[in-house]
Amino acid sequence: MEYLIQQLINGLTLGAIYGLIAIGYTMVYGIIGMINFAHGEVYMIGAFISIIAFTILGPFGFASPVLAIVIVLAVALIFTSVYGWAIERIAYRPLRGSFRLAPLISAIGVSIFLQNYVHMLQGAKMKPIQPVVRGGFVLAQEGNFVVQITYLQIGIIVATVALMAGFTYLIQRTSLGRAQRACEQDRKMAALLGVDVDRTISLTFVMGAALAAIAGLIFTLYYGAVDFFIGFLAGLKAFTAAVLGGIGSLPGAMLGGVLIGLIEAFWSAYFPIAYKDVAVFGILVVVLIFRPTGLLGRPDIEKV
């Protein structure tokens, strides 16, 4: 039982990271109908910027963790958003209206480019930092086994829930969110109503990148080390999360992220850890067989 609770906490933390990245996949898919395969790399860059910023802050950062995290967050948000914006502007927008696979191929190119670019600039070795946030609560103890939730995990889960609530509000209730959804459904009509479609698409990439930056910062804080390859698997998992939840659906991306985090944590706890990715993708396949549009995806019933 104790072990179960511990894995639940670990799984939720992991799920928070996947969920935040998955939102970027699902929003971009919603608005321009393409899988942004470079999104995992945007997350990796967010993590790198975070770790570099922590390193520059140095000893000061570890004396005042909250302030340090706020500063690093601001830096990571700004720089990562610029990457997200630039990728769309340079690699996807010129291909809009081209054949369907063109932006997808371009995305794979961007992904490879960004990996190599970071590899070149930062080297292949893991970049570690000292733990920034230490300590936690002991929830239960049984013999040698301690169930603990760290302050960091509490922070991650609270921040993720708040972000997802805020984001849902933004998309569902604000004028910008309505404009984004309008572009998803009918770009030309949205433009006739005064929506600047190019700008709205840019903003969507910036939002996705900002959430990926936060996921990258969380990863940095949680695992304490980053290399140029972390975007690949995390991106794949988050993409899986988006598909599992129903690509295009915001709550779906969040749900998918949490589910995949939990599946991984529980699988690793009770079954051979080497097969945890097999389990994740196996469950994806099973869900898609029974619900081809994902858990919360909508079948397109009302075609006009």
Binding site: S175, R178, R181, Q185, D186, M189, L192, V195, D196, V304
Partner: protein
Amino acid sequence: MSKAPLLSVKNVKTHYGPVEALRGVSLDVHEGEIVALIGANGAGKSTLLMTICGDPRASEGQIVYDGNDITQTPLHQMVRLGIAQSPEGRRIFPRMSVLENLQLGAFAGDPANFEADIARVFRLFPRLAERSSQRAGTMSGGEQQMLAIGRALMSRPRLLLLDEPSLGLAPLLVAQIFDTIREINRSEAVTVLLVEQNAYHALRLAHRGYVLVNGAIRLSGTGPELLANPDIQQAYLAGGKG
């Protein structure tokens, strides 16, 4: 009419790839008018309304609105100039509520006007008030048409472009929509360019009309003139009051 027209389309050509859909169209719409544009299916009516808004772009000619050349103005600026369109096929946002569709109609407007504007739309189309939280895609054709017109009105347009508002509606509803267009024009002082296949109703409502044939204007005149014209009677009014 000595005053310069509100909208002036001058010798406009529009191409879809190699296909010339508009072959040098000219027409004027004066402030306060209802102008009907009639023509058979495929004549280029919808193309003309969309070309006025800038997508597709005119490949030749000029479009002047309120004294300014808008031939190259970006699509999303048109509504800020006062041009709103209820396009062919209605193009309501099916997965959004009626209210959200109307909010999008007011996207470019001053939020301070929103309450007054939505009250005005609900007064013209009480049905929309009843259905405000319904998903637009699940409404009937007539209701969707009301929504498309109401959404266009939310931007407080000076010039309203309506593409076949009567298409697919029951006769009673057609009469009601045309009454509403007249009311919008009279009491709200909105200038209307109305595209219709339903020539009888359109020409009775309009001050003036143009007949588009194969991408070119064939005839023009006042509503009564065109209604009395034997060619028009034969080509467009053959089915009686269609």
